[in-house]
């Protein structure tokens, strides 16, 4: 398979790195910027413990390439199809059972912010800028942002961001709950890599996946269902660990 346009994937110390690679703006060419089969193939390896999404060069991403959307003007079905692919992709990323960090440097607008919102953790460099400017083009965030943003920042600030289209800096983003960690200027990737290593380096993949599944369940299941699943995951790990300790004693 040939890699999708303007996106690169590499693995460094068991961490997958997806780079939005179309500098300087790293515009997202189509909403479904990574075909799902690529994502599954990239992350299919049992050795990958986490994923970082970052931008090539100085910026994260200035957003979607709107030309592609406007080219389809008049054909609602083809626009819907494009947008649907983007929504499916971001849902898949959000549902991954390894941690996903958005390493946000400088510009993170529109579609770029949609991608960041689908990640589990958002690290922004102190010189990062965040915005949903779609409203200025008579559009709206169309890849799940209208759903994800209020969950993080509450409805009033979500309305303000999406209707105002104004830019936020990293510190204001953190105050709102949109940004989880602030990294030094232009150091978002390094900070993210360091955080990811601290979280995953000494952990077996099964522990990582069990925790991520339980956290996802807290979002999508009733508490009772989530707990049934969590105790099942716990007991499976406990059996493994009991076994491991036994064989260690014998050795």
């Amino acid at each position: 398979m040939e890699n999708p346009d303007s996106i690169t994937f590499q693995v460094q110390d068991s961490i997958g790195i997806i780079t939005l690679d179309f500098p300087p703006g790293n515009y997202i060419q189509v909403p479904g910027f990574i075909p799902l089969q690529f994502l599954e193939q990239w992350l299919g390896s049992e050795s990958i413990k986490g994923l970082i999404i970052t931008g090539q060069g100085k910026n994260f991403s200035a957003g979607g390439n709107l030309e592609r959307i406007f080219e389809g003007a008049g054909d609602l079905a083809s626009i819907s199809q494009l947008v649907e692919e983007g929504i499916t992709l971001l849902n898949r990323i959000q549902d991954l059972d390894i941690p996903v960090i958005a390493a946000i440097s400088r510009v993170c607008f529109g579609g770029g912010l949609e991608i960041a919102l689908a990640c589990h953790m958002r690290v922004a460099a102190e010189n990062a800028l965040l915005a949903f400017p779609e409203v200025n083009q008579n559009l709206m965030p169309g890849m799940g942002g209208t759903y994800r943003l209020p969950y993080l920042v509450g409805l009033p600030d979500a309305v303000k961001m999406m209707l105002g289209g104004d830019m936020l800096n990293a510190v204001d983003g953190q105050k709102l709950g949109l940004i989880d960690y602030i990294a030094p200027k232009d150091q978002a990737f390094e900070f993210s890599m360091d955080l990811m290593q601290k979280m995953t380096h000494d952990r077996p993949l099964k522990v990582i996946k069990s925790i991520m599944k339980s956290l996802k369940n807290s979002r999508v299941m009733s508490r009772e269902e989530a707990m049934a699943e969590e105790t099942r995951l716990f007991c499976s790990l406990a059996m493994d660990e009991a076994e491991r300790r036994k064989s260690e004693e014998l050795a």
């Binding site: 941690p99 589990h120 953790m121 958002r122 993080l152 709950g177 989880d180 960690y181 955080l195 601290k198 979280m199 995953t200 000494d202 952990r203 077996p204 522990v207 990582i208 069990s210 925790i211 991520m212 339980s214 956290l215 369940n217 807290s218 979002r219 508490r223 989530a226 707990m227 049934a228 969590e230 105790t231 099942r232 995951l233 716990f234 007991c235 790990l237 406990a238 059996m239 493994d240 660990e241 009991a242 491991r244 300790r245």
Partner: protein, 217 residues
């Protein structure tokens, strides 16, 4: 009861984790916890419940080696339900946290409605460093209180953190010197209205707890 001392003082249920020095949570503890919870929910006339540890510590959490010898999903679920019952009580449940509060003990505290914490307390969910996960609902509670990112970080890293950090993450409600923790919990229990479901918890938290803290110090 061998692992818990349960007394009622002026209408407040005092639940003391009593296996000093670190009040480790054994199988016996969970069994006794269920008995007490059934007693409370059966309608014992109480105004509040305060959970605290005997001595310097709240509790270091579950006895892992004992637990690994009796892995049983049904028992785990029952343990969770006993903790969750606390949260569903219509009287305030306050954890007074001093010293270490780790793993299952932190999970117990997370099911309380209020967490009053000493400046020198050490908290965390270190289960992942034993190749396990928090199994009594801590993951769910931390995600709700601190958000997804912090929940991922503390459960995967399994690191311990001081009270001030827990406060910044929203995992405890107030931090005071250790000598004041239990007194503050008791005073707070007495001023709280009967049924916290009917009031805005945040309102009482800010209004009374901070006021009490200001007068206490």
């Amino acid at each position: 009861m061998r692992t818990i001392q349960w007394t009622v003082e002026y209408g407040t249920g005092m639940l003391m984790l009593d296996q000093p020095p670190s009040n480790t949570m054994t199988m016996d503890f969970f069994r006794e916890m269920k008995v007490i919870m059934d007693e409370i929910t059966a309608g014992q006339d109480l105004k509040a419940v305060i959970i605290f540890g005997n001595g310097r510590h709240y509790s270091s959490g579950a006895d892992i080696s004992e637990l690994l010898q009796h892995v049983d999903q049904q028992v785990m679920l029952e343990n969770y339900r006993a903790f969750a019952q606390l949260e569903h009580l219509d009287i305030p449940v306050i954890s007074a946290i001093r010293g270490v509060c780790l793993g299952s003990a932190f999970e117990l505290a997370l099911f309380s409605h209020f967490r009053i914490c000493s400046t020198d307390a050490v908290l965390g969910l270190p289960e992942s460093s034993f190749n396990l996960i928090p199994g009594i609902g801590g993951i769910q509670r931390v995600a709700k209180l601190a958000g997804m990112a912090k929940a991922i970080e503390i459960t995967l890293r399994g690191n311990t953190f001081p009270a001030a950090e827990a406060l910044a993450m929203g995992l405890v409600d107030i931090v005071v010197p250790k000598g004041q923790v239990l007194d503050l919990a008791i005073t707070f229990a007495r001023v709280l209205p009967w049924n916290t479901d009917k009031v805005n918890r945040q309102f009482y938290l800010h209004k009374y707890l901070n006021q009490l803290h200001a007068t206490a110090s």
